[in-house]
């Protein structure tokens, strides 16, 4: 796997870990949030925590689109799938996500709903073409990375004059979520964990570039390093963040130069701008309502908007009040600090957003790292 193996070289990682340890000042704490679930996965999957000095702490952010989808939107999707005329096409990892009442699309499918797992928007278009008598709805979710394919699907459906295709749009935006996290962390409260910098999302930045993060770096005085998802990418980004903190700099730096530039993919941005517009607000599981953080189809494309086409009522469902996802996503608490973690809340029975997909902070810690909690208790 050329261009992948180079970024998974254990020897290079150990050398880089030595450089990080030598660069980090022993008398200070470095708290970095990796926004994206892809980074969380790499950190957990490769055990990077064991390679970092104790005074560098990685905080797993809200950047898993599956995790942040609120239960109400899952309920809406289930209600849609239960309509007899509808075929609902979804990405695989959405199938198990619980709505309220412990229901999921996997259970709805078992009960007779026509739910199909697809790998791309094109699969959904193909199903709509093959089954003109069915109403085929694509359950569109994801950050800026997966939005352009949804826009292209609408363009294609327009060209093909597909009268039986629509999307249930749940696309969300990264910058407003970072803003919400920074707004929610009380920097004046010494009991709260402040953030010293961000590992910025790679795939998102291939679309939107690095420019949107400059505001955070400047306004909140937080360094941001846009980094790839391979483990050596993450290690290098951590070193770059440590260096910025040491030098009291707060800039946007780009570790992922092999795919990201300052302005991003302007064709993709144009496609998104043509089809979508901002919602006034959108609910995030664990973070609540965030202004201008979600997208919907423009009125000109209302015919492809499942929420218009089927007059779907807006459903909301409260998170479990004992769930600490909100504070975990802001870096204030760790997964093991939550009373529900590993007791009633596990990947087999997720109660909160962080446990929902393997890239969520709690699920990653449970699946890959929970042995460390026992080691800590024993020591």
């Amino acid at each position: 796997m050329k261009y992948v193996d180079e970024y998974r070289d254990g020897n290079r990682a150990r050398q880089l870990a030595e450089v990080i340890a030598a660069t980090a000042a022993p008398d200070r704490l470095y708290r970095f949030m990796e926004f994206c679930g892809g980074h969380t996965h790499a950190i957990s999957r490769y055990g990077l925590e064991d390679l970092l000095p104790d005074n560098i702490r990685m905080i797993h952010g809200p950047g898993c689109p599956v995790c942040v989808l609120p239960a109400g939107r899952i309920d809406m999707a289930i209600a849609l799938a239960q309509r007899p005329e509808v075929t609902l096409c979804v990405y695989g990892d959405l199938m198990r996500v619980p709505g309220s009442q412990r229901n999921s699309l996997l259970r709805a499918k078992a009960a007779g709903a026509d739910v199909r797992m697809v790998y791309s928007t094109l699969d959904a278009i193909a199903i709509a073409e093959q089954q003109p008598a069915r109403e085929v709805v694509f359950f569109a979710i994801g950050f800026e990375t997966t939005t352009p394919p949804s826009a292209m699907a609408i363009r294609l459906a327009t060209e093909k004059r597909l009268g039986n295709f629509s999307i249930f749009c749940n696309h969300v935006l990264t910058p407003p979520a970072i803003q919400a996290i920074l707004d929610g962390v009380d920097l004046a409260d010494p009991d709260q964990v402040a953030l010293d910098g961000f590992v910025g999302p790679a795939h998102v930045s291939t679309v939107i570039g690095t420019r949107p993060y400059e505001y955070f770096a400047e306004t909140f005085a937080k360094p941001v390093v846009i980094a790839g998802f391979e483990p050596l990418d993450v290690m290098q980004a951590i070193l770059m963040l440590v260096q910025q903190v040491n030098e009291d700099r707060h800039q946007v730096e780009n570790q992922y130069i092999r795919a990201v530039n300052r302005d991003g993919n302007q064709r993709a941005q144009a496609a998104v701008a043509e089809i979508f517009e901002l919602r006034a607000q959108f609910e995030w599981r664990g973070l609540g309502l965030i202004p201008h953080s979600g997208l919907k189809l423009k009125p000109a494309y209302a015919g492809f908007d499942a929420e218009c086409r089927f007059e779907m009522p807006e459903l909301t469902a409260a998170d479990n009040p004992a769930c600490e996802c909100g504070t975990i996503l802001r870096g204030v608490k760790k997964p093991a600090d939550c009373k529900l973690f590993g007791t009633v809340c596990t990947p087999d029975n997720p109660m909160g957003s962080c446990m929902v997909s393997s890239e969520g902070a709690c699920a990653a810690h449970w699946t890959y790292g929970r042995f460390r909690d026992i080691q800590r208790k024993a020591s």
Binding site: V66, G92, R96, D123, G142, T146, W366
Partner: protein, 346 residues
């Protein structure tokens, strides 16, 4: 009385409900498809059961159902899989498989040509393994009530004296051996699933492992504690099961675990972990530390164990964690899957 019936059209014909009715059509289907493919003295007697001699000592018995999509995949089909899988379940006890039974549930409309292809593959696999299919059953269900064909096979075997492998026998200090590369079967099957669009030269590793097991038992049967074939759920599920059943933990080394580049690449593409992907021709053996080198040599001397490696050890752990030292030198848990392994969105 001569048989003047019309021959089954095995080229373009389909299974219909009469083939499961218990009447003449069913008898013809069994004769032309199954007896022709399996062809042995027990079936030839035409009884509803098979009678055979049993030796002294302990017997082993197992049964398994086979449901797979697609039915045909690179390196085999549901028929060869149903033979290999059940032989392997018998063999993992250290036993010598002797006989198989096969039960078919066929959907109305299933092409006779495909059914013959499946039966022929079963017959060939059974002959190659030296384990005849001596009895069976056929049912036909209405269209829409099955996914083409489902097969159940039962196997029995004879256990050599003094051998008592069991999943509760792993002890701290034991070594963990695997017989070859992981994930080949699961990825080969996935590559042919509807709406999957990746090409690969990979073929399933589906194979009968009793020869390999016999070689291991001959080399040092007393040194083997547990054997298991890591099928659904892959190596991760197998080690977690054994950890629970033996009340131990495991520490394995990622760098030692053999995975073909094509499997690693496909897993990368789909967001899957090769440790969770199914195998149908591999075994995991937990062995006494002093027996490990000898058993490894015996495995490597067999064609199905050429790539056998020692991937780690059994450790004392009340929490029964399967821990892995990653290629980076960090640590992680290798956990069970939560439900079905589903590709990630991004």
């Amino acid at each position: 009385m001569s048989d003047k019936r019309r021959k089954l059209n095995l080229r373009t014909g389909h299974v219909d409900l009469s083939h499961g009715s218990g009447g003449r059509a069913m008898a013809h289907l069994i004769a032309d498809v199954f007896h022709a493919a399996f062809n042995n003295e027990w079936l030839a007697r035409g009884n509803d059961q098979a009678a055979f001699d049993v030796g002294q000592g302990r017997m082993v018995m197992t049964t398994d159902g086979y449901v797979i999509s697609p039915l045909f995949f690179p390196g085999g089909n549901i028929g060869s899989l149903a033979v290999h899988g059940t032989i392997n379940d018998v063999a993992m006890a250290g036993a010598r498989p002797l006989y198989l039974s096969a039960s078919f549930i066929i959907e109305e409309g299933f092409a006779l040509a495909e059914l013959k292809q499946i039966a022929d593959a079963m017959g060939a696999a059974a002959r190659e393994a030296g384990v005849p299919i001596v009895t069976g059953d056929t049912k036909v269900v209405e269209r829409g009530k099955a996914d083409g064909v489902f097969i159940s096979t039962t196997g029995i075997g004879a256990l050599p004296d003094g051998l008592d492998l069991s999943a509760d026998k792993a002890r701290a200090g034991d070594r963990v051996l695997v017989s070859g590369t992981l994930g080949d079967h699961g990825i080969a099957v996935m590559s042919k699933r509807a709406n999957m669009t990746f090409d690969t030269d990979l073929v399933s590793d589906s194979a009968a492992l009793h020869g390999l097991v016999a070689a291991m038992v001959a080399a040092d049967g007393a040194g083997i504690r547990v054997m298991r074939d890591p099928t659904r759920g892959g190596l991760a599920a197998t080690l977690n099961e054994l950890a629970q059943q033996s009340g131990v933990g495991f520490r394995i080394n990622e760098e030692s675990i053999p995975v073909r580049p094509a499997v690693a690449a496909a897993c990368e593409l789909l967001g899957l972990d090769p440790l969770n992907v199914a195998n149908e021709g591999k075994l995991v053996a937990i062995v006494a530390p002093e027996a490990a080198q000898g058993l490894l040599a015996a495995m490597r001397a067999h064609p199905l164990g050429q790539d056998a490696v020692d991937i780690g050890e059994v450790i004392a752990d009340d929490h029964r964690f399967v821990q892995m030292t990653t290629s980076f030198g960090g640590g992680r848990i290798v956990d069970w899957l939560s439900g079905e392994q589903l590709p990630r969105i991004c």
